[in-house]
């Protein structure tokens, strides 16, 4: 499996690199294939690599003391797996990462990343921006968790999904199983199922895996500003475009 240099350049993260740095990046990174169900790394493993998803879906999750699995995130092409672990005091992963379907990863040693952060404008600024965005999202989501009903949370999630993946609001298919989404939203599958029924009243029709926003006005009154279809998030749009580029080049 070879990587075209243009591929890496399409990632915002590497967009500031000089041609020379890019060459060294290619020499130090490699593509890794993971079949569905395989662990990319586990909680407690030593941190050695930084990963970027190029194709497929990766589930980030943590195990509670009682053995229950809690999904922290679902990542798609263009997402970095563990940007927060490049610079950290601890040397072991604080979460599990598992391939949901067949996944293609860009694998770069964290040591190499660290050495090449020295020029801020080349990579570090992008990395910091990513961390800032993630932090902001995490805080918004925590706020949602405690102020909105399960139905509202699901509505917001579907909206963001549609924006992030660039789906057609008039009709699209859920990209993951309902079990996975429920876990991601930290609600039970049963609650999720019931929430989907309630959404009909709010202008969101869900039948099987098919979703369609039937009454945009009603929906936007219901979901939070941050997740509204009307408000396009530039970062997400860009990310999605990048994802498409990567899958195109790497294939």
């Amino acid at each position: 499996m070879t990587i075209k240099s243009e591929t890496l350049l399409t990632l915002p993260l590497f967009s500031g690199l000089t041609p020379e740095e890019n060459t060294r990046l290619l020499a130090n990174s490699r593509m890794r294939n993971c079949e569905g169900g395989a662990f990319l790394f586990m909680h407690g493993d030593t941190i050695v690599n930084f990963y970027v998803v190029c194709r497929g879906i990766v589930q980030i999750f943590r195990a509670t003391p009682d053995g229950h699995e809690v999904t922290s995130d679902l990542l798609i092409a263009g997402d970095s797996l563990n940007a927060d672990e490049i610079i950290t005091k601890q040397d072991t992963h604080n979460k599990n990462a598992r391939a949901v379907d067949d996944v293609l990863l860009l694998e770069i040693p964290t040591s190499w990343m660290l050495e090449n952060l020295s020029n801020f404008d080349h990579m570090a600024s992008h990395l910091m921006a990513t961390l800032s965005d993630r932090l902001h999202s995490a805080q918004i989501e925590a706020e949602h968790q405690s102020t909105m009903s399960a139905t509202q949370i699901v509505a917001c999630y579907l909206q963001r999904l549609c924006i992030l993946y660039g789906f057609d609001p008039d009709g699209f298919e859920l990209p993951y199983s309902k079990t996975l989404i429920a876990s991601r939203l930290r609600i039970e599958l049963e609650t999720f199922s019931r929430a989907l029924k309630n959404l009909r009243d709010e202008g969101i029709e869900v039948d099987g895996t098919h979703v369609s926003f039937t009454d945009t006005q009603k929906t936007s009154d219901f979901v939070c500003d941050q997740c509204s279809l009307s408000e396009e998030c530039p970062a997400h749009i860009e990310l999605h475009k990048t994802s498409q580029n990567i899958t195109k080049y790497v294939a």
Copy 2:
């Protein structure tokens, strides 16, 4: 109000600066005093400054559509107020910041921060580490929110409070009002009050504002690993030491 240069050097964030850079930092920053209740900035305001708390308590909060206030964080000396807003696409604050008591702040223009991030090792690495830590904490907390009972959440919080502030586990006073803590934990004041009663069974005695861990064994069985007294978090300890240094020098 003058700032001794040693004061700034005690902040991990600025520990990599050269003497020359430090001089420029002093020239470009200033101390700001805020009395209790005053807003440092509001949601929607243009982002112009980066702030570090030197004394007092700052409440970060957001308003829900229905007018309710949700506390995102409570910051003490040594904490940066808006590290995530130095590098971000949006140019307006995404949260409110209010002085709880009388607060002393270090105020630095974000433009200056941006210009001086260019050498990664001097400041940016510390900033990134801060963001990573925050992100990790936010994720852990979101996980707690959905997997633990209110009583457990309170127990974990008291443990972390004790570690972070360097209090004596055998007995210390709550640094904020119960209303504020409840808001921070995203639970109702009534629930918080009842949780404190339940904690007696878990080896945590709370009477008025006085807290004491009476049965360390029992407590550590009850709270999550991350928040256990037994496990000392180096970053927090360091932060607390820094806080003490700042308040000492700046006074």
